[in-house]
């Protein structure tokens, strides 16, 4: 190809920059506006700068208990993350071998990803209502409901995070060299030892990536929570509730806090991944370097 950059490079670079501005511009507007002065409204110009609206969130606004939904979302996010990591890694290992029902699991995951969220959500809510009716009819007339954060809500979130986890595992094992594992076995390692000391350290950066996906997908999940969470609310649900009644910048302050948690998790995860990659590069292979 020709030396230097073709004209199309500059056209597309400008297009790309415009896209990034389009992505970030509105979000930055929100973050800035959450620092409105106490008299400030929902739009620019800023009326002073303060942390009034952020502080107001933590005092409790009266209508909804944001502290409680914050803790609920955090709890659910952490549990979803843990389950997503364990089940995805396990299933990813299974897919390295052929097994029956392989394609059923694969197509379930893909279908779960692309069936509109509202349908999954409605289905889970119907399922739990029918379970409730059965319990009421046969065992306990005073039974309230089996729906809840850690039953139907957890299940709803997992149908969203597990497909991503599985697809990431496919990507990892596409690049994985099975000879490393064979070598471990030849040296007498049990399958568990081979996994623990050879496979896991190599895939660990990506496993942290799965955890990152699991947490943030759950933390921001709305459509699947909407029908399937039961009586309680998660933070995104509260936020959505606020959009219809909003008159104050506290909604932006809430948005800023949700984003701040997401960004903190992303930074933490990327930092850990980076550290692990560096360690791998430093300690990974000393082949050809001679004896120390």
């Amino acid at each position: 190809m020709k030396e230097g950059r073709p004209r199309s490079f500059y056209v597309l670079a400008i297009f790309f920059a415009a896209y990034v501005l389009f992505l970030y511009g509105p979000m930055i507007a929100i973050y800035v506006l959450s620092f409105q002065g106490p008299q400030g409204g929902l739009t620019f110009p800023m009326n002073g700068v303060s942390t009034y609206w952020l502080a107001k969130l933590f005092q409790g606004t009266g209508i909804i208990d944001l502290g409680a939904s914050f803790r609920r979302s955090l709890l659910l996010g952490v549990i979803v993350m843990a389950i997503t990591v364990v089940l995805s890694v396990a299933a990813g290992m299974a897919f390295r071998r052929k097994f029956r029902a392989q394609s059923i699991l694969f197509y379930s995951a893909i279908a779960s990803l692309i069936v509109p969220s509202i349908i999954t959500s409605l289905g889970i809510s119907l399922e739990f209502r029918i379970i409730d009716d059965l319990i009421k009819a046969h065992w306990n007339e005073n039974f309230e409901t089996s729906m809840g954060l850690l039953t139907s809500g957890l299940g709803a979130h997992l149908t969203w995070t597990l497909p991503f986890g599985l697809l990431i595992m496919f990507a990892i094992f596409n690049r994985f060299d099975p000879r490393l594992e064979e070598a471990a076995r030849d040296l007498g390692a049990t399958p568990w030892q081979a996994f623990r000391h050879v496979v896991l350290p190599i895939i660990l950066p990506s496993v942290i990536g799965i955890g990152l996906f699991g947490f943030t997908l759950s933390w921001d999940e709305l459509a699947r929570s909407s029908q399937a969470i039961g009586a309680v609310n998660t933070l995104p649900l509260d936020l959505q509730g606020l959009t219809t009644t909003v008159t104050n910048p506290d909604i932006y302050a809430l948005g800023t806090i949700i984003s701040a948690v997401s960004f903190a998790v992303i930074t933490l995860a990327l930092g850990t991944i980076h550290m692990l990659n560096k360690r791998q590069a430093a300690k990974g292979s000393d082949a050809g370097k001679g004896l120390v």
Binding site: R97, S103, L105, L113, D220, G255, S259
Partner: protein, 319 residues
Amino acid sequence: MDTSEDILQQASPDLVRGSDKARPAKAARLSPSFISWLQAGPMMLVFLAFFLIPLVFVVIVSFWDYNEYQLLPAFSGRGYTDTFEGCIAQLPDLCTIAKTYLKTLKLCFLVWAITLFIGFWVAYFLAFHVKSKTWQMGLSLLCTIPFWTSNVIRMIAWIPLLGRNGLVNSGLMKIGLVNQPVEWLLFSEFSVVLALVHLFTFFMVVPIFNSMIRIDKSLIEAAYDAGATGLQTLLNVIIPLAKPGIVIGSIFVITIVMGDFITIGVMGGQQIAAAGKIIETRVNALQFPAAAANAVILLVITFLIITMMSRIVDIKKEL
């Protein structure tokens, strides 16, 4: 331990396949297919309990009867007849439900076309013009990060920009382009499409980028050497090879937009009806069979679109 020998002999031929060939007999206490079941079983159970069975319930309940406050488990077509009430009588005028589905399809098509355009060129830029791997990673991360933050926040982020007193309107008034605020910027079809594009272009960029990055660069050079113009290379080499990514991205965007009710609700100022919104409204009115009937209709439409698209490309092969 003679038992392990026995198991090894009885085990399915899976054992000698692939990387398991080198496994010493001692390690084979459990048969490989049993291990696979242990490993994949938990995930399968989650999908069974929270996805497959719920889907079956949606279909079953769509044929149940209902009254003001409860489900009646008796076969009835009421969920469907209530949905299409008066549609035949009204012909040739379209009834509300038909209009709603058409509107959803229209929004879907607009968002698809725009995200495809943006996604294709963004991915093209990243895959073919950014030469350094570090820059490529950095720039794709830049596109990915907003996806990791709340959708509702990214939606409401448009309000201070597009509102009556928003930045865009005050800007337009300041430079004298308009005398009074432009009303259709917010809580309109325009703002719905804008927000959907903003939220979901990511789902188009990633798969297209993934298939473009796998294109062998020497093919493109060969096209140039054979005298093809840039446009010819694009049409005859790059687009056909990026097709799997385009199809996968399209499936994502289309299914998300078809089922969306939150973005359309918030950005449409609760004024624009869409397929997902009907389901939500019916649920709020506790008319579950009617909600389920609409879910089934939506599912069928989505399934038809996906089948059409997956005829173009084998999705499983591409992953």
